[in-house]
Symmetry: C2
Subunit: 254 residues, 2 copies
Amino acid sequence: MRIVLLGTGNLATQLGLALLAKNAEVVQVYGRNLSGTATLANLMGCPWTTDKSQIIQDAELYILAVTEEAIPLILRDAPIRNHLLVHTSGSVQMDILAAFSDNFGVFYPLQTLSAHKTVDFSQVPICVEANNGKNLEKLSLLAHTISEQVFTVNSVQRRELHLAAVFVCNFVNHLYTIGEKLLQEQQLDFRLLKPLILETANKAMAFSPATVQTGPAIRGNQNILDLHLKMLEQHPKWQKIYELISLDIQHFHS
Amino acid sequence: MRIVLLGTGNLATQLGLALLAKNAEVVQVYGRNLSGTATLANLMGCPWTTDKSQIIQDAELYILAVTEEAIPLILRDAPIRNHLLVHTSGSVQMDILAAFSDNFGVFYPLQTLSAHKTVDFSQVPICVEANNGKNLEKLSLLAHTISEQVFTVNSVQRRELHLAAVFVCNFVNHLYTIGEKLLQEQQLDFRLLKPLILETANKAMAFSPATVQTGPAIRGNQNILDLHLKMLEQHPKWQKIYELISLDIQHFHS
């Protein structure tokens, strides 16, 4: 399958590398930023362009790996014709692609990607969706070449997945950040918290999180809750987050 | 070192087993609940009592592994004399033990413990504190027999650690719970989120969390934030949590 990658960010890069490692044929990289586009094309060992009119017109799959807002900007006037076009976004409905091709779908890897760290794609769930069975089969086959976990997920489910991912990844990482900052204020090393962070995540691999909740809120230990709220007086935003989540733990488990 | 365990919960059990595995001499278990006390003593292969007056008076270390609120209840009229007495709590100041012995300290394992899962104590940070250098050395030595990570931490630092632990463990687990419930509403399996949960935790092992924050809030993607808030209309408490954490991410990183 001859693939054109549209986009040059973390997702385009890591997805491109995962495809390349499985001998997928990435025939071109298109991007808006010259040096980013050249860099990724160099990694892929393929031609590149920053001129939309120069996008190869006879590829079999066009993977749009850009932020939600950039999707319509990239697609406007792009010569995709009726070849299979997919986006890679959690919260964008598949149907917005109908204006640009008769063959379209979604190829959504559910993972957090950053430039710092290469992800093992074989364990990344890939959620596929397509406008018909034939296209769905093509996307599933491609997804299976790079991942052991491929799921057919519709647009409504996918946006729910994305929302849940914000809670368990983006918000969780921010709570790690708060923990790190609180420790710094007492000259304590963040590594003290690392075994706890790992154990908490590992527990969620084996048990329903609702069944293994611990801590002062679920124990109803008001003395500790009051002490912690008092300790957070210098951080009113964190105090509010502490209060809200503690109340929600108590409400959820009551 | 002849040790008496006061308490029979998850911490008493897992700490007792970790000590036993290193050939520590647990000579008695005291608890208030007969069957719980007998069960733990059976695991330890030692005598037990639920009668405070029968607590062995010539042990070298008394480990109080009970909830914060139970500490004064257990210690009142307990015949500890002036042997070394420690509690195991994150948020209780060491000095409250001064009323019960001239030799006291804290032995605080920073980990989440539940009946479901045995923890590898060798990787659990143990925070020790004592009323004098000799007692601190005793506790450090004991801690080193069961863990590779032993830290001397004072009471002010320890309560900050406990507060940070609530954020990175208890609150994180509640966010996992919210993610699980959101998926259930769309008939999606929680295992879809597991690679993301693990990757997020693993990333915190290698990087400062503040430097690897991702997601719509830090990207300033208002369309997605608005969509997510709308999707959470049926869950006003989760909507409020979403809003507060998103705002704090933007505030923190601005």
